[in-house]
Structures are given as C-alpha cells and as structure tokens.
Symmetry: D2
C-alpha cells in the first residue's frame, strides 16, 4: 500500500447509519429509552443526535428488510478535504463516489468509499447545525447521553486494518497483543480521546458497536434500571463494568434489531504526540473487564453486517486467531491469581 | 413451637465474628481494601467498625485453623432484654448461655444461643462507645463504608427459619416464592430497612454473607476499581448490579478465606406496620438481578460453615428444592422475553 | 406540663398541607420540576407523593388566598393511638378534634390538634395505599425524590418546643447550643433518621421547611441545573451544600408561594437508644454549612405562617436570642481560622 | 500587531509554577488535601502531577518570599516549534529567551517569553515521562484529580489579550459581552475542550486561577467535605456550583498563599472548526453561576501577581470597565426574574 496521495484530514467519528427492520421499535430504543433527540424523521428514516451535539445527526435509523450497517461517517476538517479524500481512495483502488449535498439528509457534499477493510464510509464536512442541548437540563433524562464517541469494527485481519488506519492518519492509544506478533485489537483516534475507531479481531467486515458517551457513570446505571423496570432487561448484553483498555466505564446494549450500542464514559486525553501506547497482553484478564468479569460469547461472536455502496451485504471472512479462544481459561472463564491458577471461588461463569 | 415467653426486643443486626486463617491477609482485605476502622487488635483478633458506627465493632476477625462463622450478634433494646432472651431461648430448648461482659471484647454481658435454625447468636445491649467517624472525611476513602446492614444465611428449610424469625418479632419485607407454596427466600427486619437478616434456601446452617452499606453507588464501584488495580479482581464474585429484591445496588466479594461480603446501598424505609410485602416469583429473572444478569454458581452453592457455642462445626443439611435449579433457564441462563422465550442475543452466560 | 396520659405512638412525619395561591404554578413546581407523583387532584387540591411512598400522599397543595401551612401530619402506629392522642392533647388543654375518614382525602379517621407550640397537627394511621414507584425507573427523572423526610419549624422558644416533643416521645439527635444554657435549635426523631422534626429558633410558630429525600447527591444537583436551564434559578435559596448538623447534603428551594422545600440526602441511622447526641456550638461555623458557607438572611428570617384548626393565621412571636445574630461574624459572614480570626481571603459574602 | 512569522503550534496548557512562602504548607494543600502526586521534590521546589498525567509535572511549587506566579507552561507539538516560537516572539518584540534542558526540572530545552499581555510563559516539547496513574485506583483518593485543565488570567484589556491569543492560534469557545462592544471575558482553547486559557477582565496581568479536572462531580464535593472535617473550610472561596460558561461543575479554593485553584469537571468537546461560540450577556446572571449564586468579591478582585523573566513583579493596571460592577444588581446581588425585578425571596447575599 505505497500510497503517494496524502490522506484527508479526519476530525472524528461523526455518525453511523443503521438499517432497522422496524422503525417504531428502533425509535422506542433510541428515543424513548436512550433519550436521543430527533432532528428529523419521516417514514423512511429517523435522524438523531445527543445532547451536546450541534450537527444534524450522529445516528440515522433507516427502514429496511435486513438489519445492517449502511454507513460510517467521518467528519473532515473542511470541504477541501473532499478532493483529498477522493484522490486518496482512488489511488487505493476502492469504490469511491462523490455524492451531492443532501444525499444523506442534513449532510453536505460528501465522498463515499468502500474502504480497504470492507466498510461503507462517508467523509464530509458540511452539515446542518441544530440547537446544542448541553444545558437544556429540563429535557435531560437521568441517563442523558452527551455525544457519539466511537465506532468499533470486527475485522479478520487486525494488522491490515491497523495499517490502513495508520495510513489515514489515526494514532494508536491501546492494543491487545501477545508475545508472538499477533495483534488482537487496536484502539485508534483522531480526536483527543482513546478512540474514534476500535479494530477487533473477528468475522468481518462487520460493525461491532457504536458508542455514545455520558458525563458520569450513574447515567449509565440508570439505563439498566429503566430496562429492568420495563421488563426489557434482555437488551443488556454486557456490563456495566470498567474496561481495562481505555479505562472507560461501559455498558453494552443490543437494539431491537441486534445492533450493539455501547454507553461509555471516563476515558482520557490522548492529544499529545507522545501519548504512551498502552499494550495489553491477551492473557491479562483485565483488558476487557478491569474487574475480571468474563465476556459473554455473543459479545465476541455477533456483529452487524456491513453493506457496500450499492446496499449489498459485504461477504464476511474469519480471522486466523480469535481472542476469545486464545484467552479461554482466562477472559472466557475466570481470572488468574498470582500463581496463574484459576481462583477457587469461581465456579462457572462470573457475573 | 408454641412459645409462651415473649421474645427479646431486638434492635438490629449488630456484628459478626469470622474465624480467619490468616489475620494479616484478612486485615489487608477489611482494613486496607475496604477501609474499616480498627477499634482494637491483638495477635488473636481484630475488631472493626465502619465510619458511621459508634459501638466498639461490627466485625470481629479471629484467628483459627478453619474459616467459619463464629457468631452473629444482635443488639437488644436494653440489658433487661437479656433476661427476656434467656427465658425465651430456654423455653425454645436450645443451648443458651449467659456470658459476662468482655467475653467478646468491647461487648457487655450477653446471652449466647445456638438458635433453632442452627446459628451461634449473641444478644447484647452494653457495648463500648467509640468515636463516630461520620464526618471524618479526611480519612474516608473513595469506597467508604457507613455501617453494617444485614446478615444473610443459607438454611435448608426457609419456612422454618421464617417462622422462627417471625416469632422473634421480625417483619417481612420481601420474599421469593412460587405458586406451589414453596418459599425460596425471605427478607426480614427489625430496624427500618429491608432487612437485618435474609433467609436463603441452601445447604445450611451456613452464613451466606454479611452486608455493609455505603452512602452512594460510586463508592461500591471504587472497590472494584481498586481490586482491578491491585490485580486481585478475583475477590469480586458477583456484581456490581441492582437487586430486584430490596432495590439495593450490590457487590459481592469473597475475603481471603472465602467469607462473602456484600457492599450494599439504596434500599428503602420499611418502618410503618403496613409496609407492603414485595413477593417475587421465583421465575422472575429480575428478582436476583434487576438487570437480568445470571448468578454465578458459587453464589448459590458456597457459604461459611457455622460453629456451635463450643466452637465445633454445625453439620449441614440440604434443602428439598433449590432456587438455582427451579429457576434454571431463567436466572441461571437468560432472561425471559414477552413470550417467555430465551432472548436470541444471549449466548452462554451473561456478564 | 405534668401530663399523666401517655403520648400517642408516633411513627414518623407523614405529610404537610400547604395553602397555595395558584394551583397551576404550584403544580409546575412540585410535579413538573420536582417530579412528585399526583395521586389525586381536583380544582381545590393536589395530593402528591414521592417514588418510594405507598400512602396516598405526603404533600397536599390546597388553593387559598394567602400562602400558609394548613397542617402537619404524623402517622401513628395504629388506629387505637387516636384515642391515646385525643386523651393526651385534651389533658394538654389544646384544641383537639376528632375528624372522620376522608376529612383529608386519602386519610382515615384522625385527631387534629393545635399543638402546644402553635401548629396545626393531624395524627392518623389509616390511609389509602397506592402503587409504590420505587422501581419504576422508567418514570424517575434525573432528580427523583424518594420520600418525605422531615419538617422544620420556627419557634420563638426552642426549649419549650423541645420539652413538648420530648413529652411526645421524640428522641434528640443533634442540637445547636452555647455555653450559657441557650438552645438555638434541636433535631428530633421517631423514625430511625436524624429527624422527623427540627426546631429552629425564630419568629413563630411558622413552618421553616418540609424536606424530601433523594437516594444520591447528583439527584439534588440536577434540580439546580433544571432551574438554571429554565431561567428560574431564583427558586434556589440556599445550597447545595453539606450540613454540619445531620451530615446531610442539602438544597433549599422556595416554591412559587414562598414555601420552603429542602431536598436532602445522606444522613445516618439513629435507631439505637444510646445514639449519641451531637451538640454543636452556635459559634462553630460548620454547624449550618460544613463547608463554611454563609447563610442567606432570608433562610433565617422567612417562613410560612401557620393556620389554626379553623383556618385562621396563628399570631407570631419573636425569640429572645437569634442564632443569626449570635453568630454574626461567624456563620453570617465568614469562617473562623485556628486563631479565630476572619480569614483574609473572604471579602463580603461567601458563595 | 501585523506579525509575519507563524506562531508556534501549541498543544495545550501544560504546567504552572507558583512561588509559595511555605513549602510544607503548600505540600499539605496540594499533596495531602488534593492528592497530587509528587514526581520530584527538594528543599527548593516540589514538582507535582495529577493521576492521568505522564509528563514530569503540571504544577511546580517553588519556595520564595512573596507569593507569585512564576511561569505558565504551554506544550508545543515538537522541538522544532521552539525555533518557531523564538522567531514569533522576537518579532512581537517581547523579552524572549532560549533556555537549556533542565532549567525547569523535568522539562527539556524551552523558549521563555514575557508575553505581550505581561505573563511569563514557557513553550516546550521535551519533558520527562513518568508513570501514568490513571488506573492506580489503589492510590486514588475520593477527590482524585485527573489532569490540569486550564489557566485563567486577569487582564485589564480583554480585547487586546483576545487578539494576542487569536494570533497564537487559539480558538474561542465562549465570551461574556454586552451590546456595546465590550468584551468582559473570553474562553480560548487549543486542545479540544472549552479552554486552555480564560481571559477575565480585571487588574492585571495577574493569574486568576489554575484549574484541574476530575472525572466526576462527587470527587469535587469530597474536597469540600475534607476541608470541613479538618476545620479548614476557609480554603473554599466559591462553589461548588455549575458555571453557565463552559457548563462545568466547579469549586474554587485558595491555597495557603492565596493562589486560587479551580477543581473542574464536565465541560464539552470543541474540536470541530465550526464549534459554535457561546456568547453570554454580561447581564445574564447564569453566566458565572448557572444556579444564580452570587460571586464573592474576592473572586473578582484578588489574583496572583505575575513575575517577569528575571523574577521581578510585573506592575498591574486596571480595566476601564469591570464585570463585577457592570453586573451589580445582577450577578453581584441577586438573580433576575422574568420581568427583570429582583426576586423577593432573596435578602442579602445568596449561598
């Protein structure tokens, strides 16, 4: 991949578009439960944003027959970067299309690509501004969400994906590795947080999750309580807990179509060029849960299919090594003690 | 059990005494990790209290060869209640002994019994007062514990245990039942909270756990973070989470000897005589975790052996029905959906 | 006051009734802003309860021409206590009336008295039960209120009021005193918290405030944020802050008629008979604000007029000594340093 | 100021150096109370950092005879920026000095300037790395501080200071203005938060405060509680509260020498080029306190003297208009109601 063109100057992960099979059910999940604000909606799609966001949307729910990831959107520094992006991806030899303003409602002219690791991605700068609800505490629920934070994608070859994102100018904050040159996952960023994109080894290209940030942890706990109150606690897939990687407090939910949403808070500043890379050993049980909690299988194995620029499903391939298997007996079942034996208090799965 | 004598007027669960095999290891857990205050210690025992407590101790750690529960202490309303207790338990026909002040350091004259459900219990009123550290915020850690809240015991016959505690004047706040007249668990109180004692069906008599209260939930989360930081996250057995029963936010830890400690916050006032009893169906997955989290097997099956008044282990018998088995497919594995089928997003255990 | 009759067995502070001049404005404050649940309402009155309460109401707002306190309600242990109350107050020689069930909607038969310190008080046991919303997290706002906690009344003679409440069987948890036998304030309880009633020296009989409890502090902070968002921050009179007395985290609001509401959390258990009385020196600046914040004059001088049993305003008399004056230079203006001089960093009032 | 040289590429506010008169007293405040980590110390100076910081220090306390601000440090993107900085400031005509590595312990080669608005400022890239304590929860106190966030300086001419910082490449997030072209304050940033520097009108050049960030609000409240517990609550000058500007939750402390420290959390992302500027009217009482709390005079009038590059005090001049006077009757005393009258519930100062 000896690219000669410079990459576009990406600001941050900006929005995702999901295909959902039941708009009303999805609206319940994202609006009634999670409290996202509706910027626009019609029979085909709902455009949503979080309380601190002033662009038109950070999430689009579009009606379709099969749940899928339709698009990941990155914002670039200016419209001039669209030309840069177009040249860059044409040189990379991937499907690259310039689309006029409004192709996605609320978004200006944009460049869409099927990126080298298989995902449908849009680069844009122009977008409609809306009211920022940061201080509209009169409408904030007890689980108020501040902003979209990052994407997490499942890819069969993490090294290749990592190389692609390095080329696109992303920094690396944390990784999961082993002593044998295997890269199981990588967290990469443009904005000054732990990540805009996480690359997780697995059947891919698929979307693992989209993460939204809250200000504090009690806002995450409240979403669990609401789901319990409604008897819909099955939407909770994993957590709440503390990640070793990123130090964030997390909760994973599945929406009515199975798309995974993380609610996330308390990571750290990464904006200095010498920000230390935190490398986690795949055998350190604290990497995925700092509290030693095992990870439910569905979290490792299920993800949302990606569409190509024509809306067709992108075929999926499998990785050579799976973190979930490499670390079985560790993350999959227990925590290690000082002498690396399974602790006697744990029988079966950990909750 | 047609008792003619009135029961003693019990105020509340007051202290527990654990036999621990390594005082230094136990001190690390209760003092260094959990932040309990040392009122007194010597080579044989450590007497501990929490920040809002002004009596000598709420927990005693005593050096021994085998981990066990040595004693549960209930405080009664006055010294005059010792005579009442003595007459009451003699009529019940259980081993009943009057012990002089100081038999347990810091505690006045007391009545010790092997109660009808097999536990070594002390009733006392007099106790040394110490400084209440409620406002000593300069020494409160980020996981500050306020006070002992309750005991939870495993008993093979919950109905019999429930009848015994009703006789002793305890109210019932919540239960786990089924439609077929089986009682799987009961929460019973004297002070105006959800419980001083919980009765949980299981091999018994054994101590399931002792619970301490914090003011807020972040103080519970911090204990998890500290354990992760120290690489001792294996002390976390279950949680943090929200109980359906009691509505409390919980965390279960295992101490170095395997004694189980709950950190607990946010239950509710039960002081009015008509306080409604909350009855949970054993098939409602939210009873043990309001968020639908499965319960690790060790939590259902492991507990601390009880000693008799001579320090010998009390033999254990098993229940006819086990909640963990009755509710398998429910609590043990998943959550139910509206049409009572296992939700497709859950594969294997939930975390 | 050598009373020969025993006092009724009071459980706790149970409800207050306010006369408000604009029901719609009051409804905005208590329902829209504070999130209290409406159990019943008509053109004349709104009956409200908090999320953990199962009785019909803990606050009644009744339409009238002049803002006033119409009634304080204490719950007693059973209906039999009504006779006890009637005999007790008749012996005390105060206006005592038996009223039939439904005189106050949702409340059973009751005894109303003009108590010896001038307040209209109702004693009752029977009351309609309603749904307890403890776990209805789907409707809890970010500032969810759990339950009514206590009343605070302004009285010209704190010692006399203290003697009256001692006679009624209330315990004392904390006081503000000086070395010269003056009692400036006292906190007294029946339920196992710091207080059901606080007695504050001042022009009286008047109601200083009614306090509601939340589970955690962030719920109190959110009410401030909502008021700011709405441009109605003038409803905030004092706080948020930490009381020295009671250790509670507090916020004082004024409703549209000027009635004062405290939102309160994190006090402590007082249920043992030897619970130590915490005596604060009137010159300790931390008694009212543990953080040394001065107290706004309105908080010391303004309160709600009390009505008698016929609905007429009870005349007000003034105290001989005022805490606000005794402690000027202290609480009114600054905090003391080790050598008792005003700290040089403080210029004017503290915020 | 038609500068032809490009400005250095500043990353963020990085450290401040205070002259303190009593190192032991200062150590109590910053280490014992606030929990900052000591990277290095000797008889002359203490170098401190917060838990998430990996550079040598974010605060230096240096022993001296008169309290003063010795230096503000900005980190630049690379060592090559030192040459850029040197050329830039030489063209600006201010005192500019290249200093070798170690001139400030732990810091590499640097450029020091007396900036055009009168402050001693150091630009550097190289610095010693130390352990990042982000996940060392075992040593985090209940008031754990994450990182330095920003500086706030008092300047007599906010417009001139604003123009200087615009020239240096800083963005503007929020301002306080009036309708008559007066700029009372401006918040400016390089990293993606609300500010690295705030410019506040007042006698200057002086340092108003240095702000440190926490993860959550309860960590800020705990510092107040500790000060109360120690009887040193006089170190609290203002707050805790919510700023209108920046939306942050704040607390202002004064250290033993009177240097002002803000503890700050919950502002928002500003990293997109079109981040909307929030302009506050000087008459909107919520700008300084979103809850309408008045601001203590000392907060407006007191600040730390700045030293020049030779260690001499920089003379101070006064502004033409003062926010504290313009807004008296507003911020200085009360909050406005809908019809802009002082609310009748407020008597005297607000707490």
């Amino acid at each position: 991949m000896a690219v000669t063109q410079p990459p576009p100057d990406v600001l941050r992960a900006a929005y995702a578009e999901f295909i959902v099979t039941d708009l009303a059910a999805a609206r319940w999940f994202y609006v009634d439960l999670l409290g996202l604000l509706v910027t626009a909606e019609d029979d085909e799609a709902i455009h949503l944003r979080a309380y601190e966001e002033y662009l038109h949307h950070s999430l689009v729910l579009r009606r379709g027959t099969t749940p899928a990831l339709a698009r990941l959107g990155y914002r670039v520094r200016s419209n001039a970067e669209l030309d840069v992006a177009e040249r860059y991806f044409r040189e990379l030899g991937v499907d690259t299309r310039r689309v006029p303003a409004g192709t996605c409602r609320g978004i200006g002219e944009a460049v869409r690509v099927q990126d080298p690791i298989g995902f449908p991605v849009e680069f844009f700068y122009d977008a409609e501004h809306t009211e920022r609800f940061t201080q509209r505490y009169d409408v904030h629920g007890a689980n108020a969400i501040s902003r979209l934070d990052h994407f997490n994608v499942a890819v069969p070859d993490v090294k290749a994906a990592h190389a692609y994102y390095r080329g696109l100018g992303f920094g690396v904050s944390e990784t999961i590795e082993d002593g044998a040159d295997n890269l199981y996952a990588a967290w990469m960023f443009r904005k000054q947080t732990v990540h805009d994109i996480a690359l997780t080894g697995g059947d891919g290209p698929r979307l693992h999750h989209v993460a939204f940030a809250t200000q504090e942890r009690h806002q995450i706990l409240h979403t669990c309580d609401v789901l319990g109150a409604l008897g819909r606690e099955h939407h909770i897939e994993r957590g709440p807990g503390r990640h070793g990687v990123s130090n964030a407090f997390y909760l994973y939910l599945r929406d009515p179509d199975g798309h995974r949403i993380e609610i996330y808070t308390s990571d750290y500043y990464t904006g200095d060029p010498d920000n230390p890379v935190q490398r986690w050993d795949v055998h350190d049980n604290r990497r995925r849960s700092f509290w030693g909690h095992s990870v439910v299988d569905s979290w490792y194995y299920e993800a949302s299919t990606a569409l190509d620029l024509d809306g067709k499903q992108v075929p999926v391939t499998s990785p050579e090594k799976r973190e979930a298997l490499v670390s079985v007996g560790a993350d999959g079942f227990s925590v290690s003690t000082e002498n690396n034996e399974r602790h006697p208090f744990k029988i079966g799965e950990q909750v």
